[in-house]
Symmetry: C2
Subunit: 265 residues, 2 copies
Amino acid sequence: MSKEITENKNKRIMLTVAYDGTAYHGFAFQENVRTVEGILNDNISILVGENVEVIGASRTDAGVHAYGNIVVFDTVSTIPADRFAPALNSKLPEDIRIMDSCQVPDGFHPRKCYSEKTYEYRILNTKTPVPTKRQYTWHCSYPLDAEKMNKAAHFLVGEHDFTSFCNVETQAISHVRNIISTDVFRHGDEIVIRIVGNGFLYNMVRIIAGTLMQIGRGKNEPEDICKMLEAQDRTVAGPTAPPQGLFLVKYEFPKGSRVNKDSEN
Amino acid sequence: MSKEITENKNKRIMLTVAYDGTAYHGFAFQENVRTVEGILNDNISILVGENVEVIGASRTDAGVHAYGNIVVFDTVSTIPADRFAPALNSKLPEDIRIMDSCQVPDGFHPRKCYSEKTYEYRILNTKTPVPTKRQYTWHCSYPLDAEKMNKAAHFLVGEHDFTSFCNVETQAISHVRNIISTDVFRHGDEIVIRIVGNGFLYNMVRIIAGTLMQIGRGKNEPEDICKMLEAQDRTVAGPTAPPQGLFLVKYEFPKGSRVNKDSEN
């Protein structure tokens, strides 16, 4: 190893990663299948000439998309932090893009640090599915009442036990989570469900989306969502909406999480 | 052939077809490659038990999408006209959907009849391409001035010789076309170019989009588009924008084109 490299100090780099989840078996690395984490590890390792394994903020399921998932990794590379984005984009497949790269404090861990996550779930509310939207929406041909869905979603805001809105296979010990805000609105022929929280259980946003869809088509009333929360029983809430309508929009970390001065979270 | 079938009268059915052009070698039938027309012919023929060849309104290029291309075909099938849409959707691949089906007068020909066609071209105007939009937009990282693009597009309205905005391989004898309206506007992180006309030359919308992009980034002024029209020379206009940003939105035919009473064009 050259003197130059041994003298380089490790630095921790954070990437904001967007991807089209259609062709991936989810974010988390698995042997012998295409995962976002696997592709990132391969391409970063080639770029820096070290064996890199990223730490991801969110292990999104197969078919789920992201505008702003977060990964961090340590490297002795002398590549300036903000140059990782263009350097990696010249190597990565087109369905993964690095939207931003910066240096973060050495101990920064995207799952252990406080963060606010924004998810969107999109329902295409048309008589017939639109082919160009089939991989990015859940199609529902029943007329949906977005106002009722919005009213129902607001009951989720605050700290609640979300056992009814969690896949029973979860490994989380506590099912209490804090939803910071919700907004459900019609956008053209789509209904967008936007949820901000500082933590989500396994399949939580997709179960909320499935439950709101049933409220929107009149199977349940907005107030029923309160009873579902109280029941702490997965069987009382709606179905798990399919993965392709879900987008991890962004992570927000407290100020000071970045080392570079030129950008703020 | 059974008596029942021989007594059935031919009727002409019109389908409104939406497709994601990503996986197709364009609309027009070609031997041994996947085309929208080929897939439609195969599936309609199986459904009606006759050998059907559709007549398409627009032969969109490889990678171009449609919300409302039009095809017609003749059949002796007793399937009610409005049932062709759901019946075909249960057979077709997910990237082709029949949005509507109806009966039209026997002689109705979608290319020989007067029609108004609406196209949209979408430019994604962000620093980094967004993976989920890569197959449905043209990415441009330069800041674009949508107002200038809109002003420029308005100069195209009316009857003009569009030689400068036409692929030189066109087989059209006259290059005079009538643009009915144009509208260019920012929609979130996209710039949408909407053009309505009663006829378009080969690659005309894509060359207009490429030219407007250059005006939007300041390489040309809006008024320059008038000089380009006058020059009648393909080399003076902008580049041909790539196919994936182009959507054939809809066809409008004169009233009375449909035989069913329950819908209007």
